[in-house]
Symmetry: C2
Subunit: 254 residues, 2 copies
């Protein structure tokens, strides 16, 4: 833990990043919603890619991650791979990212869970039924969604670190007794969560609107249902972020 | 030219696609603007990628295109490669896209020009000076911008085809005499161009705003300057789309 790490860990900048990441998540959902669900791209047994056993989505995302690993993407502690097995090493010189996270707690990766929830639960909620054949483009959009969600949820590590540093005495007892419920309670602020839900709903309305020069055009058709975005935060993003925080804190005194 | 092609080529659907693509372009610019310019990622002589002679951006974009080609992306006549040389063949079964374009005119690709203008002129206009080391993520965003711009500009082929079919008698003389100026004049509607410029400016304001729950928060800080988006359309997107249209029409009677 060096000085640059400490100074870059300000609650204000964490908060700003979380708010900015909301926009990225909403943009990526809106962009994926241009395509129908294109289920064939996710069928593991269809053998769509000649010489590859698995879905087209898995093929594209595994290969894209391998390429991004070579380009150094995962050196940034904010980034997490979906397929960490056999990832090639970076071919670019290392960048000196601030060392903020506690090493024993830094390696948590719940992307397997994010993958499952995205494809099984979320995707059908904001895409229409159908198949337009644009699997490669749709999956590129899926990857943007997955990476945005993963970054937001794993940002819980930074949130937990700053909360821990600000009130170490409050967290230590629950960490020592491995009391997950007590940690979850310490980390939960219902009024903040309500505010986040309202804000992302408002953003989905602002970013998903049909912008027209005609001021009398009162169409409120939205590209992604603002309620789905609010629900995404309530049911998945915020609970999973807190899960990451709890897991991180449980290792914070290792 | 089959029936499905003719029926899918409606001016209304072309117009809708062009309007929807504006959103994609603006989202992609906003997302790229999260990172500083990160010039080292574009330096061709720096040798940043071990074993690759060229910039990190070229490495990532060439390799990503190769992967997307295997996944079938470029089977869609709306998609155009930046590095068409030595692209691997698709590994997925072909999709039956409507055959809309006139084969002798369909192969126009001005991505070299789009690449140069994006990196040399546009990127410095909407990113701040600096280097945060996130080259791989920034270049992934560049590719989204490039692909969105390329799709929009090459969509001129579809625009030209529908205009030609609607008024063949008006275009034929200029095509036969290869009169580019006359074609450009036939294709230019200044009032429409003015409307597009105003609309994209309004969209940049709507999508780039800081959405807050506080109604009295009158910050109008915008993530990407709406004037830059309007200028992008005026100086580059619309002229290059018309260039594609002219080139397409010049081959429409081959």
């Amino acid at each position: 833990m060096d000085d640059s790490g400490a100074s870059s860990l300000k609650l204000e900048s964490i908060r700003e990043s979380l708010i900015r990441q909301e926009d990225t998540i909403i943009f990526s959902l809106i962009e994926r919603s241009k395509f129908p669900i294109n289920s064939r791209g996710y069928d593991e047994s269809l053998g769509l890619v000649q010489g590859f056993s698995g879905s087209l989505a898995r093929f594209i995302i595994e290969e894209t991650e391998a390429l991004q690993a070579k380009a150094g993407r995962f050196q940034n502690p904010e980034e997490h791979q979906f397929f960490p097995e056999n990832l090639p090493p970076s071919l670019v010189p290392p960048h000196d990212y601030p060392k903020v996270l506690y090493p024993a707690a830094a390696s948590i990766n719940i992307n397997k869970r994010i993958w499952d929830l995205y494809f099984n639960e979320l995707l059908p909620l904001f895409t229409v039924v159908g198949d337009d054949g644009n699997y490669a483009s749709a999956v590129a959009s899926d990857l943007s969604c997955l990476q945005a969600l993963s970054r937001r949820i794993h940002y819980g590590k930074f949130v937990a670190e700053v909360k821990f540093r600000d009130a170490q005495q409050d967290y230590e007892p629950a960490i020592r007794t491995k009391d997950r419920d007590a940690l979850m309670k310490l980390l939960t602020f219902e009024n903040v969560e309500e505010m986040v839900k309202k804000r992302v709903q408002k953003k989905a309305l602002a970013f998903g609107q049909e912008v027209s020069l005609n001021h009398n055009d009162k169409k409120v058709k939205c590209k992604v249902d603002p309620y789905v975005v609010s629900r995404l935060y309530e049911e998945w993003i915020m609970p999973l972020t807190k899960l990451v925080q709890v897991e991180y804190l449980l290792h914070r005194l290792d």
